[in-house]
Symmetry: C2
Subunit: 494 residues, 2 copies
């Protein structure tokens, strides 16, 4: 079906919504989503519906959709599967532009009844009410306050990231990840079985959505491969598209069938198509998160030459190994730059070659900042990675009884030194904060790292826990801009 | 040099040690290691040495090694590089079987003077005092209380893991990791430049060390490749050997040279040799840690068929993809086993096919235990993985104001249910505890996860944070036992 006539504005920013299937007796999906919407502060009007009537949270419960006194923009449907088609019909008559169906029990069951019910949903959708789901967690839109089924405490902060996910679990997980990884969302859509609106429909919409700057997708399968790849190609020519395709293994295909009843497809074909379309493919949820983080915080360009500075030579060795796998290089520093850096570092034990070994974890942040400002003078350096081992400060507490860890670690100075280096040099900085001390008695270390992370993120400096993951994320940003440059000269898109 | 005459017993369990280069004025390496030894509770006698004499921590400082009133077993040398050879000579005359040299400033500098000083160390070693280092963090032996330079708060708990590391930073990092990943150490040796005793010497010793059951190595290069591979082969025929070879990339080789001045070597050659020798190769520090953890807690065997149970279908899809990459399979459950599992799970939304989708994160631990006991009845199942999303309980706190998170999550019941399933079925269980909520305000989630981890580990159930990492670790255990079976029939070893 065409999406030309879909009123996405009323779907993402509804003023009046019905929740069909809100029980005062138990904690079903209807009650759950109502709680979540109130908790997050949804700004429109909510009309709960249940044949038993009554009242909930000071609001009247309407026995039938027809009883709602106003027209509605959007509906959330959480009744048992057999009641879903009729509910959709009623909501359409009440003027709803769309509905999300949280209920499960459709095509994913593989039963005749389930498949028939999903066909009935499609038939209702064709009459004009566009459907998200069934078997999904719905829409999260921080701007309007729509939230996912288990999303009472998601952020209301808006940002450039859109996420389209066939999995509800992954939608909520990514929404949580953004809250501490330093990126925020324009729209998140968990579309489940995708009986009507699916990844491709939202993709075509998001390509032109001014609030969306980065689009990530988790898909298990698509219905119209050609249309999908064409949509990816057109979108990727405008903004980064990151695709995590699940179920590329043999047993993965079987799991896909019982999860969202989609067709999987060949691994090699998918990889080639995504590449040709100019998108970036990731292979795990972690990589998805890190890649979004890098796109959200790094300037849009291809990265090649880098520095890594940190304490301990093995970090440098590991860094080199990881860099080479990710198409990054360490131009050897020389001349005045090399001498100035070497002069500033403790001796013996440090090395001003690139990677830069700062010899110990207690080198003052100002020195690290100086080193990065110097290294950036080398034209070949596109990006700098600073690895800081805050957990080593813990021994000050245990060995020297120096008080609370958070009073010892000069977190703000680290943040300011890196920010200054970034601003003065115009070259991005990436921070890696590993944590080797994670005992129950080491929550103070975790607290310091999280404080630091908040500080760096507020200044637009992405923080990773692991160097290899940071490099992979940088590589994915580079891959996209390499492909974009190629795509922009593709005559088939003009 | 042969290691036949090395008195490893006196090196690892010294009764009397000299620390050469302890200052009362500053926090140099000598003072640092003395602090660390006292802090960890080293059980022998410590004799600090410094030409200025004086007193420290109630102990007399001897102006010269010769002034120490007793013979010594071991020495720790922390004077500046040019003074090292004479200190070694003095310690040898005092009867020391070995010495660790924490000082840097030798071959790794690449200077003529540095290289000459390292040669002088070798010459001293040939006279009979065996050397660990220079440019290292020394020995950590929980049994005797020897500890690494920055190791004042390492554990005194002993365990089967030995770690030989060319990098001091990695030695201390792994020692910390063991403390919360559920494994303990027999011996950890940071040997730095390896002027005398190196990985191969310790490997030959550990092959016969009854306290050591698993041997891990971080190496940047070896001096005698043939001897090394032969030692690996002989050792791997007896116990697991895990090798992390750093510096396999081009720029990695350059970093190796400035770090510990070793020769690197070709990537493909290393990989083939390690495989032929029956050891397991890992490619990152994280993989190293996870692999050790798996060897330490899983029964020694090859694993093929597995179950994964957890909430959310995408977990199952991701699980399948990761399993296939790691040589693991999900035998589809059927018959009574399938029916019993399906009956016990919430509906709709759950799936008793393998992977088992338990539909939501709040399924009671007793149900999860029952499911695992049922699934284990299928002969094809070798191992089971349970993924539990404790972070979803957080919404109970924010949404329902139910009090403290740690009072809501029945951590002990999860641990007991898994333990019971493991004991009753005789099949190992692996727990995965991801954490998508890591804001500063979510330290309570981290605390609950760490509590759970402690409980599982105490019952011999390994906990990972990430499913893919867990699978990779299981794969590495399988790889070793496959290779061992092959090695045991290798005539060249009889």
């Amino acid at each position: 079906m065409s999406t030309l006539n879909v009123d996405f504005e009323r779907i993402f920013h509804p003023k009046r919504i019905a929740i069909v299937g809100v029980s005062t007796q138990d904690w079903g999906f209807g009650r759950g989503i109502m709680d979540s919407l109130i908790s997050i502060g949804f700004e429109g009007e909510i009309y709960p519906v249940n044949p038993k009537g009554g009242e909930i949270y000071g609001r009247k419960i309407y026995p039938r959709v027809e009883d709602i006194p106003e027209d509605i923009d959007f509906a959330i449907i959480a009744v048992t599967a057999p009641l879903v088609p009729a509910s959709l019909d009623a909501c359409r008559r009440k003027g709803a532009a769309g509905a999300e169906i949280l209920s499960a029990g459709f095509r994913e069951l593989g039963t005749k009844e389930g498949i028939a019910l999903e066909e009935a949903i499609k038939a209702e959708a064709k009459k004009g009410i566009r459907v998200i789901g069934p078997n999904c967690f719905g829409i999260y839109c921080p701007k309007s306050g729509l939230t996912l089924l288990p999303g009472p405490d998601l952020s209301r902060k808006t940002g450039p990231v859109a996420f389209l996910s066939q999995s509800g679990g992954m939608a909520i997980d990514l929404a949580f990840m953004g809250m501490w990884m330093g990126f925020s969302f324009s729209k998140v859509v968990s579309f489940g079985n995708g009986a009507d609106l699916r990844e491709v429909d939202f993709l075509e919409y998001l390509a032109h959505d001014e609030e969306t700057g980065i689009i990530a997708l988790y898909i298990e399968g698509v219905e119209d491969g050609k249309r999908f790849i064409q949509a990816v190609k057109k979108t990727a020519a405008k903004k980064p598209v990151i695709i995590y395709k699940g179920g590329l293994s043999e047993s993965g295909k079987r799991a896909v069938a019982s999860h969202t009843a989609s067709m999987g497809g060949q691994k090699e074909i998918w990889e080639a198509l995504i590449k040709q379309a100019g998108a970036v493919q990731v292979h795990s949820f972690r990589e998805l998160c890190h890649t979004i983080q890098a796109f959200a915080m790094l300037p849009p360009r291809v990265y090649k030459g880098m520095t890594v500075l940190g304490g301990g030579g093995a970090l440098g060795v590991s860094a080199c190994d990881a860099a080479e796998e990710n198409g990054l290089t360490f131009p050897p520093l020389s001349g005045a730059i090399y001498e100035n850096i070497l002069f500033s570092l403790p001796k013996p034990g440090s090395s001003a070659a690139n990677p830069i070994d700062v010899a110990n974890p207690f080198v003052p942040p100002q020195t690290l900042g100086f080193v990065m400002q110097e290294a950036a003078k080398d034209e070949r350096i596109d990006i700098q990675v600073q690895i800081t081992l805050f957990y080593h400060f813990k021994q000050m507490v245990t060995r020297f009884k120096m008080g609370a860890l958070k009073d010892i670690v000069p977190v703000d100075q680290y943040v300011e030194a890196a920010f200054e280096a970034k601003e003065k040099t115009g070259k991005p900085i990436v921070i890696v904060l590993p944590n080797c001390r994670q005992e129950l008695t080491d929550l103070d270390v975790e607290e310091v790292i999280r404080r630091a992370k908040e500080g760096f993120h507020q200044r637009g400096i992405p923080v990773f826990h692991d160097l290899t993951e940071a490099m992979k994320a940088i590589r994915n940003v580079s891959l996209y801009y390499e492909r974009k440059n190629r795509l922009l000269t593709d005559p088939s898109l003009s």
